[in-house]
Amino acid sequence: MKASTQLNMSSSPHSHSQKTLSSVMMTVLLACIPGILVQTYFFGYGVLLQCIIALITAVVAESLVLKLRNRPIVPTLKDNSAVLTGLLLALSIPPLAPWWIIVIGTLFAILIVKQLYGGLGFNLFNPAMAGYILLLISFPVQMTSWLPVNSLQQYSLSFFEQLQVIFTGFTSDGFSVNQLRMNLDGITMATPLDTLKTDITKGLTVTESLTGDVFNGFAGKGWLWVNITFMLSGLYLIKTKIINWHIPIAILSSLAFCSILGPLFSPDIHAGPVFHLVSGATMLGAFFIATDPVSAATTNKGRLIYGAFIGLFIYIIRAYGGYPDAVAFAVLLMNMAVPLIDYYTKPITYGHGKIQ
């Protein structure tokens, strides 16, 4: 060789796992796909449409802020984090919610919750869940207008009819979302969690309530499969070490534990663990939302505490709170506790333990 060859310099280590931010986020996105498909199957194309609107909004919003902040746009977009935020929010809102709902939610999540705090890695709160809560508090009607599963719907809507509902509020035949939600008896149907809550306030027992249309005897129709799909995808993420097992397992065990205790004391007003685990956003929340690394606890012990409290809050809010589901509130509440948890769960550094 020539002695004059210019050698490149770099700092150690020179080896890298090749697992990059972009590939991590992409894997999570891909892991969402089965869940999206199942949700679409049960609740209509609205789910897909919401996802698409959210993705576009997220990318546009992110690019805009990056431009304003003089940050590189394309390389940052490539980390896929904005896309993931939009997607998770889209999966949480009613499929036929008006288009501006998801647009406002995504804009808030990206612009305010994420970028105003400094962008990826600096946000205190989970952007998707903060966006969800903004929407839930500001637009409670639209945000709780869930259609029942397809099989229960009086009218089956085509793709274009759903598109029309999302953008105009009415089908071509002039039906509003609220009308679409009614069953043959003219009663508006809601999500299983919502239905159960309403039934219990009406004085029905849990067992009685679960015999209703939206249930299949022990859990919500459709929601059961959506949750199972998200759980399987989540397990895949754990297996590929994209996420740690600590948070999901802690959430699910804590929620299960609480929902076992509940019926022990008053079986009539508290649903059991199976119902809670496969209803609402439980699995999506446990595997995809609470595991958002930026806003979650960072030590293993901390993650267990973080997860356990999320599970506890989900149960408390579902059982006693005013809202039917509680994943978003629980996650946000615990986001606030993260610095405290991290501080008190610092691992003992090698050589700093008790002298043997």
Binding site: M1, P13, T298
Partner: protein
């Protein structure tokens, strides 16, 4: 309960936290026997290749040296010599870029080999047990052996511990990817390594010797097991492959479940770890008398057509090694000294290999892509999961970026071993280790500055105290000296006064008579102390000399302090001084006939009183008291004279300055 030793013997292993599994790439070289390289055209031997201090250079330019001849001699602790790797002529002794991450220059001995490779006389020892402890330690030191696993800790220092060693751990883990030097050494030279082990066994008498090898080296394990069969206290331990299990602290944890307390060394918990290469070198040094002049180096990477392990002479240029492995450099080529996890890139291939070099890695862009794409930290904590020291690399990174040094120390930055595991797993490709290195350097710099500042402060305070003390001393001396001195000076004033009083004519004959009597008494007292004079004079001269030396140094301060101090002492005594002056003046007047004598006496008074201040003080006090009495009687007189006295005292001040 089972003792630790029993647990270990039963085959128990523990786990070190964290760790990563980077691709090994060991297949490139692990099955090829170590080959001998031709003697290079030039050898560059840095005189310091270890942790510690270099020795004294023994040879000079132009001198012919034999292979194995010592080129330097240790002249202080932590110093080990370097030796001529082959016979030849010393061309130069000069600073050359050395094997260091920033290619720092090191004084190096440049040798032009004669090609004959003639050994100097060697002194092998067949029976090391016949040597005493010190002799073996010295042998190890004089062979120039330092830790060959990478750190370069002088082997003799490590072996010299006065602590009771329970476990001697032989580190054949070699967890860094690509490197197979220790693997091949164990496969081919197990007996020689056992020789080295038995020397240390003799020195340290450990309870158990544990040879640790990762399970990806089955041949090395077999080879070491065979070689150690006949030794009862040697146990070959196979440990799971994980990076960085070969780290000293991690290995101790895996084998014994013990942790080396922070800022302590393994010997503090009864453990000593030596690399197989080091033990091989110790064996060679004792049994064959050979100093450390060559070592096994893995030359590997996919830009080499013939990667292999070589016996390389210490001081061979990296280029020599690469050329012999058929190197085909690519664009943006990197040449790494050490492994891919902890090695450092070389700015040039003209850098010599040293005692701590275990690998030369010349990768292509595909096997080790050049990553320079730092993104935001997403707090995923993959780094914390990978950290073998249970640190929080992610937090450290934030603190390092914010230069929060106290927080960094709080989070135990200095327990980071820079293994690079965090960096390896970071999805945001943040160069964490580099941040820590910079932060560590900055903290050390800051600490050094703090120490310097502290020392300066202490020096300043001590100086202040000294000045204060000296001022005090001087002041005391002044107080004692001042009165007689002023008395001396005031005789002149008194003379002036006397003139005045004579002009005015004596108003009270009675008081004059009393004064006369008192003055006489005073004179008598003074004359009593006269005999001491000569001795006192010498002492005073000495003191004056001392004072003069000091004055030269600190004239200004002295001036200031005198200015501050003199008036107060003077004013205190002003009244009495005036009175005394009046009294003395009167006495003078009476003793006109013997004026010259009086002057001499008063000078003597000064010197005497310096020697015997108490007596003098008493005398002065008596004089003062009497003078006061006298003064009362002649108040009108005093009022007239006081303005003149004032003038006189300010003159005194000037004088006392000069005298100092």
């Amino acid at each position: 309960m089972e003792s630790l030793l029993e647990q270990i013997e039963r085959g128990m292993l523990w786990q070190a936290p964290g760790g990563v599994h980077p691709p090994g790439h060991k297949a490139l070289t692990e099955s090829i026997a170590i080959s001998q390289l031709p003697i290079p055209e030039k050898l560059i031997v840095p005189i310091k290749q270890h942790i510690g201090v270099h020795g004294k250079v023994l040879i000079e330019s132009g001198q012919f040296v034999l292979k194995g001849q010592a080129l330097t001699a240790p002249n202080q602790p932590w110093s080990v010599p370097v030796h001529a790797p082959t016979s030849g002529t010393i061309v130069a002794i000069q600073a050359m870029p050395s094997a260091h991450p920033s290619a720092l220059e090191e004084i190096s001995i440049i040798l032009s080999p004669d090609g004959k490779d003639t050994w100097c006389d060697l002194f092998p020892i067949s029976d090391y047990a016949s040597l005493d402890y010190e002799e073996i330690i010295q042998k190890i030191q004089m062979a120039g052996i330092c830790g060959m696993g990478g750190a370069g800790f002088p082997a003799y220092v490590k072996s010299q511990t006065d602590k009771k060693i329970e476990f001697l751990i032989v580190n054949g883990v070699e967890c860094e990817p690509y490197i197979t030097a220790d693997d091949r050494l164990m496969q081919e030279h197990a007996d020689e390594i056992i020789h080295g082990i038995s020397v240390l066994n003799h020195l340290l008498k450990p309870e158990k010797i544990l040879i640790a090898i990762e399970n990806d080296k089955p041949l090395a394990i077999k080879s070491m097991q065979r070689a150690s069969e006949s030794f009862e206290n040697i146990l070959v331990k196979t440990i799971p492959t994980k990076y960085p299990s070969g780290g000293e602290k991690q290995l101790i944890q895996i084998l014994t479940n013990k942790e080396v307390p922070t800022r302590k060394i393994p010997a503090d918990i009864g453990i000593l770890v030596q690399n197989v290469g080091t033990l091989f070198a110790i064996g060679e040094a004792i049994h064959k008398g050979k100093p450390l002049i060559e070592r096994v180096i893995t030359v590997t990477g996919k830009t080499l057509n013939k990667p292999k392990n070589v016996w390389a002479l210490i001081g061979s240029e990296v280029k020599h090694l690469l050329d012999n492995c058929d190197f085909e450099p690519q664009a943006q080529q990197r040449v790494i000294m050490g492994g891919p996890m902890m090695g450092f890139t070389l700015p040039s291939v003209r850098i010599p290999v040293v005692k701590t070099t275990n690998c030369i890695l010349a990768p292509n862009q595909i096997e080790l892509p050049f990553n320079d794409n730092e993104q935001a930290c997403i707090r995923c904590s993959a780094c914390a999961d990978a950290c073998p020291a249970s640190l929080l690399p992610q937090q450290l990174q934030w603190f390092a970026k914010a230069k929060e040094y106290d927080k960094l120390e709080d989070h135990n930055l200095f327990d980071c071993i820079e293994c690079g595991a965090c960096n390896y797993v970071c999805p945001s490709e943040i160069p964490l280790v580099q941040y820590y290195r910079v932060a560590k350097a900055q903290i050390k710099e800051q600490q050094e500055e703090q120490i310097k500042a502290q020392r300066a402060k202490e020096r300043f305070e001590i100086r202040n105290q000294r000045l204060e003390r000296e001022k005090e001393e001087r002041l005391n001396r002044h107080k004692k000296i001042a009165k007689p001195k002023t008395a001396d000076e005031q005789t002149k004033i008194a003379q002036a006064m006397a003139k005045v009083t004579t002009n005015q004519s004596d108003k009270s004959a009675v008081s004059a008579a009393i004064a006369r009597a008192k003055a006489k008494k005073l004179q008598n007292q003074n004359s009593e102390t006269l005999p001491d004079n000569t001795e006192v004079a010498i002492k005073r001269a000495q003191r004056k000399e001392k004072a003069r030396l000091y004055r030269e140094e600190k004239q200004k301060e002295t001036l200031d302090s005198d200015n501050n101090q003199a008036p107060s002492s003077e004013t205190d005594d002003k009244k009495s001084a005036v009175a005394a002056a009046v009294a003395r003046a009167k006495a003078k007047k009476l003793a006109k006939q013997s004026e010259s004598d009086t002057n001499k006496d008063s000078r003597e008074v000064e010197s005497t009183q310096a020697e015997d201040p108490r007596k003098a003080a008493v005398a002065a006090a008596v004089a003062r008291a009497k003078a006061k009495k006298l003064a009362k009687q002649s108040e009108s007189e005093k009022n007239e004279g006081s303005s003149q006295v004032e003038l006189g005292t300010s003159d005194d001040k000037k004088d006392s300055k000069d005298n100092n």
